[in-house]
């Protein structure tokens, strides 16, 4: 490799994603460097969440190429909607974690179990190791005292912080946030953003964040991408996008949300 910039960790090359007749991503090109914190903004239905869902292998795509750390999502000769074996998909998933809009905590498990279960089952940690890891992470998100509670006993903000700890317990290289504060009452948004903001200082963690919290996006991201109709129509540093947007659609969108 002769170029100075590090090889991208994530690379979408001409990816097209359709739901029936609806094209959600249209010849989509996008690269993310290792450790980069990227925020995706744009009107709803513009394909931002789909980018995350494809990266998490929750949705297949039809055309183009997607790689993560040099690994192709689709295998040559792969079958099924993902054109890849389950084994291959699991290999990819081992590098990626996701935080959902609706938290998706397991309602029958204690907070501790929510965080420690997958490390035991999937990573093969001992119960003790996994619980020690969970205790550390719960302390990090400020919920050490809630480890024996069940999700229904927590506020939305607390649930989302548990969900972040749960995702981190798998030690992903890439962490995806799909509108993590959209389902929260306004007064609970701050506590979740504070946790995500802390994570943004983690040098090695690559973060992709879909959000409508523009002020927050400006504070934590290295780069902001504005989505429109299945493509990135403008991207750049938060300063550039928020103070001097060049594309008329970006101006229009920012005017409507920053009102």
């Amino acid at each position: 490799m002769t170029e100075k910039a590090p090889a991208p960790l994530i690379q979408f090359a001409g990816v097209t994603k359709r739901f029936g007749a609806l094209t959600v991503l249209d010849d989509f090109n996008f690269e993310v460097a290792p450790g980069e914190k990227v925020t995706l903004i744009g009107p709803s239905g513009s394909g931002k969440s789909t980018v995350l869902r494809i990266l998490m292998t929750l949705e297949p795509f039809q055309e183009g190429r997607l790689t993560l750390a040099g690994m192709d999502y689709q295998e040559p000769g792969g079958t099924g909607p993902f054109k890849a074996s389950e084994r291959h998909l699991r290999e990819i998933r081992s590098h990626v974690g996701m935080v959902f809009q609706s938290f998706n905590l397991f309602p029958h498990m204690s907070v501790m179990r929510n965080v420690a279960e997958a490390p035991v089952r999937v990573l093969g940690l001992s119960r003790d190791e996994a619980q020690a890891r969970a205790v550390d992470l719960l302390a990090m998100v400020g919920l050490a005292d809630k480890k024996d509670h069940f999700p229904s006993q927590l506020s939305g903000g607390q649930q989302q912080r548990v969900a972040i700890a749960r995702a981190l317990a798998m030690r992903p290289r890439v962490l995806l946030f799909d509108e993590p504060t959209s389902a929260l009452d306004p007064q609970l948004v701050g506590e979740v953003l504070a946790v995500i903001g802390d994570l943004a200082h983690e040098h090695d963690l690559t973060m992709l964040l879909v959000t409508h919290e523009m002020r927050f996006a400006r504070e934590v991201s290295d780069r902001v991408c504005f989505f429109d109709k299945g493509r990135i129509c403008e991207q750049g540093s938060p300063e550039a996008i928020f103070t001097a947007p060049s594309h008329p659609r970006t101006c229009e969108f920012l005017a409507s949300v920053l009102r």
């Binding site: 699991r90 179990r113 749960r166």
Partner: protein, 230 residues
């Protein structure tokens, strides 16, 4: 005389008392058959429900056909088939096992539908969270899905359990000596059917009442969110 107990037909009461031990021997067979049959139905029903949701069309389609066949043919036919036809192909099972298997097979078709409804009611976000945590499908079923559907499927499963208990007398047609078969034999020998058959009816009533009460209690103590895992 049967199993070493002699009956005393002097009055209905002495008659009932004297044949009670024989009926109770039959009761243990009835209970064992119902327990074995229901265990088979619980396990196999879940397997069917999971196979039906398989990504491979051929698997889900074949499973759907098998389930439909089991559901739409009479238990008695299945019973005779397993008991008389399979031995011709070299598979001879004792009558009790054949009976339990037939009950289990037929009811697994019913329970698989109950499981299917329960599984479909689990929000998509739960599956997606499990995928994001890189769990396999088996792990997802075992740790996430099944514990959550238990409270939801409990009432329907309970109904099938009671129904199955009540259907065990049909096993007497393939020579299983259950409560009903023994009561019938006592009747044949004494020409007094009323007392033994009434006893069998009452014992079934008590049995199903106990089951219903137990299920009711279980439903009350089990949290709505599922089997709690700490």
């Amino acid at each position: 005389m049967m199993y070493g107990f002699t009956w005393d037909t002097a009055t209905p009461l002495t008659y009932a008392w004297s044949i009670l031990p024989i009926i109770l021997i039959g009761l243990t067979v009835t209970l064992k058959a119902a327990a074995a049959g229901f265990a088979i139905a619980l396990v196999l029903g879940l397997v069917f429900a999971m196979l039906r949701r398989s990504r491979w069309r051929s698997v889900s389609w074949t499973t759907a056909c098998v389930v439909e066949f089991l559901r739409d043919t009479p238990l008695l036919v299945q019973l005779f088939f397993l008991y008389y036809v399979l031995p011709e192909y070299g598979l001879t099972l004792p009558a009790f096992l054949t009976g339990a298997l037939a009950l289990g097979l037929q009811y697994s078709a019913y329970t698989s539908e109950v499981y299917r409804g329960g599984i479909e009611a689990v929000p998509r976000g739960q599956w997606e969270a499990a995928t994001a945590l890189n769990m396999t499908r088996m792990q997802t079923y075992r740790d996430i899905v099944v514990p959550q559907i238990v409270p939801r499927i409990l009432p329907a499963m309970g109904n099938y359990m009671v129904a199955m208990i009540k259907e065990t007398p049909v096993l007497s047609v393939i020579t299983v000596l259950d409560m009903m078969a023994l009561a019938n034999m006592i009747g044949e020998r004494t020409f007094e059917y009323l007392v033994p058959l009434t006893m069998v009816g009452l014992i079934f009533l008590i049995l199903t009442l106990i089951c219903s009460a137990g299920l009711h209690r279980l439903q009350k103590v089990l949290p709505k969110a599922g089997i709690p895992l700490r």
